[in-house]
């Protein structure tokens, strides 16, 4: 079977596709459009890169992890772990337009300046809608991409574009967990196909991710509550708040989560990674034992590689980021949230296949998965 048909049958038709974009921009056959990957025409290639890159087919997390991360620092709940930090950008101007604390944007700018990366594949949206993939090469391009889009853009289509030719040699990528996983699959495949391929990825920044939303569903939702051109940003608050916030020119609109649940992207229900375990650094919104509001405007950040460590140290030394002390609460809470997502994802996969040993794209032999499946409520 050709690889495009295999992807269509095994990933798209089964609602596993996350629209990460890893399979697109490689050939004329797969197109990402409004949150969906669509196969047009049929290729006859059997072992295409699309297939090798896909984060929803043949994922062997254990061996992929062993290829790129230090085994010693592996924490089953949250992946490779050098440390958890509470940070935010020192620059208040930057911070005010960012999703949470602006850590991501600040680190990207720093990485560019310090030569960790020469470009960054980012997502630019209008208040979170109509996200587009951008190859940023200047600090101002990076700033134009602040804020999160819950309509999942095919970011890695941009990475595939950036990988063509010789224009970029150290590409930075920011992505949700499905995307960063795909990036490591890409690096691995490229390393076998072409020895230079691997060097071209400078740094990978992961975003924590609960789930994304259906593209057209979110369009409709926004249209129901405001006009698109008034929209400035959107965020989903921790589930205890039960709301999604739309920041508009006319002020804040709160939308009950009951309206959000029906438009959760189907493929996100089968995800087991909350903290973007495949990345140099991963970043999310901060949570405090004293409540969400206390640390609102801060990020929590996990360092996973030496490179990540190095960049964070420079950020500290140069005062690019502010750091806040943390209680043990934060790590525990994060581990718990991450483990919850793993359990839910596995539960949904098993429900879908009706078989505990068929986890579709995941390997039931992965030690972490095995561990979960051997304990309550699966046992």
């Amino acid at each position: 079977m050709s690889c495009t048909i295999e992807l269509e049958k095994g990933v798209i038709d089964t609602d596993l596709c996350t629209n990460c974009g890893a399979c697109t921009n490689l050939c004329p056959y797969l197109i990402s459009f409004k949150g969906r990957v669509i196969r047009v025409f049929n290729c006859e290639t059997e072992n295409g890169r699309c297939h090798a890159f896909c984060p929803r087919i043949n994922v062997d997390s254990e061996s992929l992890r062993d290829d790129f991360f230090d085994k010693e620092i592996y924490v089953p709940e949250i992946g490779p772990f050098y440390g958890l930090y509470l940070t935010r950008a020192t620059d208040t101007g930057l911070r005010s337009n960012s999703q949470h604390g602006g850590t991501t944007t600040a680190l990207l700018e720093l990485a560019l300046k310090e030569g960790f990366i020469d470009s960054a594949v980012l997502t630019q949206s209008t208040g979170g809608l109509e996200p587009q993939t951008i190859i940023a090469t200047r600090p101002e391009d990076i700033r134009n991409c602040q804020g999160s889009s819950f309509q999942i853009p095919p970011t890695l289509a941009g990475l595939n574009e950036a990988l063509k030719g010789e224009a970029y040699k150290k590409i930075g990528v920011v992505g949700t967990p499905c995307k960063t996983l795909a990036v490591y699959k890409m690096i691995k495949k490229l390393a076998t196909d072409d020895e230079h391929g691997m060097d071209k990825i400078g740094m990978v920044f992961g975003l924590f991710c609960g789930w994304g939303l259906d593209w057209l569903g979110l369009d409709d939702l926004v249209k129901r509550h405001t006009t698109v051109n008034k929209l400035k940003q959107m965020d989903i608050l921790p589930s205890s708040f039960g709301v999604m916030e739309l920041k508009t020119e006319d002020g804040l609109i709160e939308i009950p989560l009951d309206e959000i649940y029906p438009i959760i992207k189907e493929s996100c229900k089968y995800c087991t990674d909350f903290t973007a375990e495949f990345s140099d650094i991963s970043i999310g919104g901060a949570r405090s034992s004293a409540g969400w509001k206390v640390d609102q405007g801060w990020n929590q950040l996990i360092v996973r590689t030496e490179k990540g460590k190095e960049l964070l140290e420079i950020a500290r030394a140069k005062g690019v980021l502010e750091f806040k002390d943390m209680e043990p609460y934060n790590l525990d809470k994060l581990k718990k949230a991450s483990m919850n997502k793993k359990r839910t994802g596995l539960k949904n996969l098993i429900e879908k296949t009706g078989n505990k040993s068929d986890l579709m794209y995941l390997s039931p032999n992965d030690p972490v998965i095995k561990g979960i499946l051997n304990s309550a409520p699966f046992k």
Binding site: C27, F33, I38, E44
Partner: protein, 644 residues
């Protein structure tokens, strides 16, 4: 004039016959196998001061021609079999008139269709309208009949039909020419003799028509167009019309049966010469019917036989009904040939076939080995390729399992790989838009698939306008794409109301499609699909998301027409940069050769790179936009300079 014999195609012979018969006006709508009749008339136009034009459809053609007849001059209309359906409403009413000039309708059937969406036997219309119909067997006879019918139509005051089939229309043989008659009559419409089909007059006129047809039948009894050949005491007689006569003769001669089997060739198929037929029915013990397509003669002769209440003695009938006359498709399906008659005769006479039955299959299999396999394809540079690519991708992106309902024209090929298998329904001229309008009405039954109608410019004027008005008036939700390539390309680049730009002509007042559709209040976009496939896709997608009737005009002149027209002008061709084309390494999986599939794009397997056959490339530059490596450029073929 000295007797002159020249080689003529059947359709040219028909035109010549009309010229010799004194025709003043000829028109029609192009359609294989009839198109060359009016094309030939165009070549007579200036020298003989004949008015010739292409009409937008067959009914207006017949109506216009009738006006000449009403004013006392001869007129001829030509069409393919589908056309007679289009004009049948007028045909059945004008038959009730008392015509002043000759009105000849030439219809060319396409058995075993080469280029038709049906396999209709148009002879039935003669019976429906109660008008005379002749069937020639050779180009010579076609010419004679056309000439004779114009004058006979005038003499009887009724329209007449001449029926040809593809092999006759397109076959060539020697034809002896006669002198050319020019009409002496001054055209005049007599206001004291109104031609009005009001109900109370219809029965009167219908009665008169039937009386005229009785007279016609008496004349046909003596007609030289009917001939018998063979022994006077033949017990087995082949009754045949049209090309069947030649097939019958071939079979009889091959089997050396000329001394025992008789052939009655009928040229006056309607009304049948009953007396003549009964004479031979009486003589024969066995009758074999040979004709294309339906058992028309066969059925009518059997009626005649029954009407004589046993006077004819016992006759055994063989033909399509008995299954003795049939090609590979079965009785009444497809073309017949000499071999089919040979089969029937050997079976009836229990003779050995002179050669094995699978001879034809063996010959075909052998010939196939010598042929390069070729699939039906749009020409190189054909704008339809871009249009269907845009439609396909837009429908895929739309994701509601939308589909295309097609129409009649080159773009019908889009049911196959060259048009990305997009057309899923294809019937008659104008049907796509009617279908699309109906599909949208299924919405209230839970149907959600968008149907996109496509039609060419010529088809649009021919019969899409009523469907469009219907859709708009009845508040349908339908997207209609007009593939405007400026000419009626499939039938030989005839002019039509869309003809402008390179196709502009003094003969045509161009009527842009969008002016019409916008006049109907329909949102209309006009763009060149070849120039910007991305924009074309986007427009189709966006229009699909909107309610109501929408029209997209994809305008780009037919590449083959343009190439013919601008013979020595500057020519450009695509060229593949051999460095940039990554071949098998690209990941595109030979997208240009496999999917775009333009005849000019080729693949060099040893080198594993694509290249362009520059001699045939029409320089449309569609492939430039689609190569993922941007490895294709456009060059001026004379200077080699890169243009794009």
């Amino acid at each position: 004039m000295n007797e002159k014999r020249i080689l003529l195609m059947g359709n040219e012979a028909i035109a010549r016959g009309a010229l010799e018969g004194g025709v003043s006006y000829s028109t029609g709508y192009p359609g294989n196998p009839s198109s060359e009749i009016i094309e030939t008339m165009f070549s007579f136009k200036d020298k003989h001061e004949i008015s010739v034009e292409w009409s937008v459809n067959e009914i207006v053609a017949l109506e216009a021609a009738a006006a000449f007849s009403f004013a006392g001059l001869h007129a001829m209309v030509a069409m393919k079999q589908n056309g007679i359906n289009v004009c049948s409403d007028f045909l059945t009413t004008v038959a009730l008139d008392d015509l002043k000039g000759g009105l000849l309708l030439v219809v060319c059937d396409d058995p075993g269709p080469l280029t038709s969406s049906n396999e209709e036997d148009s002879r039935h219309f003669a019976k429906i309208a109660q008008v005379p119909l002749l069937e020639p067997s050779t180009p010579q006879e076609a010419k004679e009949m056309a000439k004779w019918l114009l004058n006979f139509s005038k003499q009887m005051g009724i329209p007449c039909i001449l029926r040809s089939v593809s092999r006759l229309s397109h076959g060539r043989s020697g034809v002896t020419l006669d002198s050319i008659e020019r009409p002496k009559a001054e055209p005049f419409f007599d206001r004291d003799k109104p031609l009005v089909g009001l109900p109370h007059l219809v029965t009167i006129n219908h009665g008169k028509l039937l009386q005229k047809m009785e007279k016609v039948q008496q004349i046909f009894e003596q007609s030289p167009f009917n001939q018998y050949e063979g022994p006077d005491d033949a017990r087995l007689i082949i009754m045949t019309t049209g090309l069947g006569f030649l097939y019958a003769r071939e079979a009889v001669e091959t089997l050396s049966l000329t001394d025992t089997v008789g052939i009655l060739k009928i040229g006056t198929t309607w009304p049948l010469p009953a007396g003549l037929l009964q004479k031979y029915l009486k003589q024969a013990d066995e009758v074999l019917f040979v004709e294309e397509i339906d058992p028309f003669l066969e059925d009518q002769v059997k009626v005649l036989y029954a009407e004589t209440n046993g006077e004819m003695g016992a006759v055994k009938f063989y033909g399509k009904k008995s299954g003795d006359v049939q090609g590979p498709g079965g009785p009444g399906v497809g073309e017949i040939n000499g071999d089919v008659v040979l089969d029937a005769l050997t079976k009836i006479l229990q003779r050995e076939r002179p050669w094995s039955k699978d001879y034809a299959q063996k010959a075909a299999a052998h010939a196939e080995k010598m042929l390069v396999p070729r699939e039906l394809s749009f020409c190189q540079g054909c704008p339809h390729r871009a249009s269907f690519l845009a439609i396909k991708v837009a429908l895929d992106l739309d994701g509601r399992q939308g589909f295309v309902v097609g129409d009649i024209g080159c773009y019908g090929l889009a049911a196959g790989a060259t048009g990305f298998n997009q057309i899923k329904a294809l019937h008659c001229m104008g049907s796509g838009m009617g279908n699309a309008s109906g599909f949208s009405k299924l919405k209230s039954f839970g149907f959600n698939q968008p149907a996109v109608a496509v039609a060419g410019d010529s088809t649009f004027y021919h019969s899409c306008i009523p469907a469009l008005v219907n859709a708009q008036a009845n508040k349908a939700d339908a997207l209609f794409v007009v593939l405007d390539n400026s000419v009626t390309a499939m039938t030989g680049f005839q002019l039509n109301p869309a003809s402008c730009g390179v196709a502009a002509s003094d003969l045509i007042n161009p009527i842009p499609v969008e002016e019409l559709t916008r006049g109907l209040g329909i949102k209309t976009a006009v763009l060149d699909p070849v120039e910007d496939i991305g924009k074309a896709k986007e427009t189709v997608y966006n229009f699909l998301q909107e309610d109501g009737v929408k029209v997209i005009v994809f305008r780009h002149v037919c590449a083959t027409f343009k190439k013919k027209k601008i013979k020595d002008g500057q020519r450009s061709s695509a060229r593949v940069d051999q460095e940039k084309c990554l071949g098998e390494q690209c990941g595109c999986d030979r997208f240009c050769v496999r999917i775009i599939n333009c005849p000019a794009i080729q693949y060099d397997s040893p080198k594993a790179k694509a290249y362009i056959e520059e001699d045939i490339c029409n320089g449309c530059s569609m492939c430039l936009q689609l190569c993922p490596q941007k490895a294709i450029m456009l060059v001026d073929t004379a200077t080699g300079e890169v243009v794009k």
